[in-house]
């Protein structure tokens, strides 16, 4: 592919993921210039989307820009990593107008800052004062439990595993009991009729 050689000159590797999907990984310093050269030199004029992934364990966000040419016959993902703490990215809204809304969403959902972005305000949430919700350390279930009570009628629910164990134990106990009873019965019988046994022996 032509793009691969072009990128090789920039010492970047183009990886083919699927039939129509390619990926370039780049570090944050070179991101802006690479996107500009994608737009101006390589002919990738469409910014399809900006995706953000929270890699909590490694402590960074993975940002993916998906670009397409005029022909729209393949997609190139330009991927970069930014620090999770005080995350900040260059804004692309001056180049691609649609980036404005994508970045606004990312700001709200991940808390990524975009210096120079004009409208970094609420996108979908209203009066939100908690952690940005799509960060993976935000526990949505805990938040729900603190805000909203569920219905209480389901209190009689049983833990099936426990019940299974209980029943198994009960069965075992019943079996043991039965065995014991049988034993004691036998023993009792033996005690009650020792004479018979003796007689038998005789």
């Amino acid at each position: 592919m032509d793009l691969a050689s072009k990128l090789e000159r920039l010492s970047l590797e183009l990886v083919q993921k699927q039939d129509y999907l390619y990926k370039v990984t780049v570090n944050l310093e070179r991101l802006e210039s690479l996107l500009l050269s994608f737009l101006n030199e390589f002919g990738y004029i469409t910014l399809d989307s900006i995706n953000c992934r929270d890699d909590l364990e490694d402590g960074f966000f993975t940002i993916t820009y998906c670009l397409q040419t005029k022909k729209r016959d393949h997609i190139v993902m330009v991927q970069t990593k930014i620090q999770r703490e005080n995350a900040s990215l260059p804004t692309m809204h001056t180049i691609w107008p649609q980036a404005e809304i994508m970045e606004r969403e990312m700001h709200e959902m991940f808390g990524v800052d975009f210096p120079g972005h004009p409208t970094l305000i609420d996108f979908a949430l209203e009066y939100w004062d908690n952690m940005p919700p799509l960060r993976r350390d935000f526990d949505t279930l805990e938040y729900v439990n603190s805000m909203n009570p569920f219905r209480k009628q389901r209190g009689d629910a049983l833990d099936a595993k426990e019940e299974m164990k209980k029943k198994r134990e009960a069965k075992k106990a019943a079996k043991l009991k039965a065995e014991k009873e049988a034993q004691t019965k036998a023993a009792l019988e033996a005690q009650n009729n020792p004479s018979d046994e003796v007689k038998d022996e005789e």
């Binding site: 469409t46 399809d48 005029k70 691609w96 107008p97």
Partner: protein, 371 residues
């Protein structure tokens, strides 16, 4: 710039409004009836899908994705299934591919009928919604037979589809297509040729052709401007490379051009469905046998899939992390850019009466903007 907004009154078009497509609102600054500024507000439908999906395994997340866009769930299922298949390297059988293609095209027809109702309703032609929603219902009846669900089908499972075709299904579908062909002529007479619709729609909401490619406008917005692009042709998935169909285009870029493109696409959908009915293999595995009771382990990798929905290209970004759960799934539907970047621009200097019409013709679906 600020002087423009003097003497304007501010009204809210939505969220509870008969002229809005779903639950969103547009804040309008009006000078008389002329709009001086428009601002989209969403968030009334935000559920945090992407958060919910992170908490679920692949099998569990499968049932939730179709809710992302309510009027047309199937492209979502298809995208999700294909993303999982890409990540895990599953191959699906030819019959499953045909069935999925068929479901997608059926969904496209159903969505188009619903759109036609909305578009006609937005100009006060109450007759067409009554007819077209009923016609859409007949397609939902077929879905009911095939998938067991009326609106949410939950049918395209990663690795195939969940059920085989019922007996005699293809014949009944074929009958329905005959009926639809007749109906489209009726709609052509009563709606597309209607003098009022032509008068209202021609020259309104004109999209600038130069913006289209750069700003990632998709679907009919793009094809109404004379740009012949369609994911089904450019990056064919499923069986689309083996099927014969055209991409209808119009040159004007206004509401009427988009309506005509949609009408022609309905005819193309019928054409595709007829081919599928003819070519559908009799035998074939419906669902791949997945070891360990339908448990998927996604590798720590990412992928990006695109499907042509009835309103344009819909894309999913999906990444796994080596466990059963999905690390991240991001939805990029066609509405996001249309509702913000495009709508806010198009509405300026049009009239209040054009808002509902323009919005409908862009195919905006609020639940998909904010997930």
């Amino acid at each position: 710039m600020k002087n423009n907004l003097e003497n304007t009154i501010k009204i809210f078009h939505g969220p509870q409004h008969p002229g809005i497509t779903g639950n969103m609102s547009v804040e309008l600054d009006l000078l008389g009836e002329t709009i001086k500024r428009a601002q989209t507000h969403v968030g009334y439908l935000h559920r945090g899908f992407e958060k919910l999906i992170e908490r679920r395994t692949v099998v569990q997340a499968f049932t939730i994705v179709c809710r992302i866009c309510v009027p047309e769930p199937d492209p979502n299922e298809e995208n999700f299934a294909r993303a999982v298949e890409n990540l895990t390297g599953l191959e699906i059988s030819e019959k499953a591919k045909y069935i999925r293609t068929m479901v997608l095209e059926m969904q496209r027809l159903a969505t188009m009928f619903l759109w036609m109702g909305g578009q006609a309703g937005s100009i006060g032609l109450g007759l067409i919604p009554q007819w077209s929603v009923c016609d859409r219902d007949y397609m939902l009846d077929r879905f009911e037979e095939l998938t067991g669900g009326r609106v949410y089908h939950m049918y395209a499972f990663p690795g195939g589809v969940r059920r085989d075709l019922p007996e005699g299904f293809l014949e009944r579908l074929s009958d329905l297509l005959d009926y639809y062909e007749k109906r489209i002529i009726v709609y052509n007479n009563t709606f597309f040729d209607n003098v009022i619709f032509r008068k209202r729609a021609i020259g309104v909401g004109v999209v600038n052709r130069d913006d289209v490619l750069k700003n990632a406008y998709v679907g009919q917005t793009m094809r109404g401007c004379g740009i012949k692009k369609d994911v089904r042709k450019d990056m064919p998935y499923l069986m689309y490379d083996k099927l014969d169909f055209d991409i209808p285009i119009q040159q004007d870029g206004d509401v009427y051009a988009r309506a005509i493109v949609r009408r022609d696409e309905m005819l193309q959908s019928i054409r595709i469905l007829r081919q599928i009915i003819k070519q559908m293999p009799k035998e074939g595995e419906i669902l791949q046998k997945i070891p360990k009771h339908r448990k998927f382990k996604l590798p720590s990798d990412d992928t990006y899939v695109q499907t042509e929905s009835a309103r344009g290209a819909m894309s999913y970004y999906m990444a796994g992390d080596g466990s059963e759960k999905i690390r991240r799934m991001q939805v990029r539907g066609p509405s996001l850019v249309h509702a913000y970047t495009l709508l806010e621009k198009l509405l300026v200097n049009t009239e209040l009466a054009d808002v509902a019409m323009t919005m409908n013709s862009l195919g905006i679906c609020p639940p998909e903007i904010e997930r």
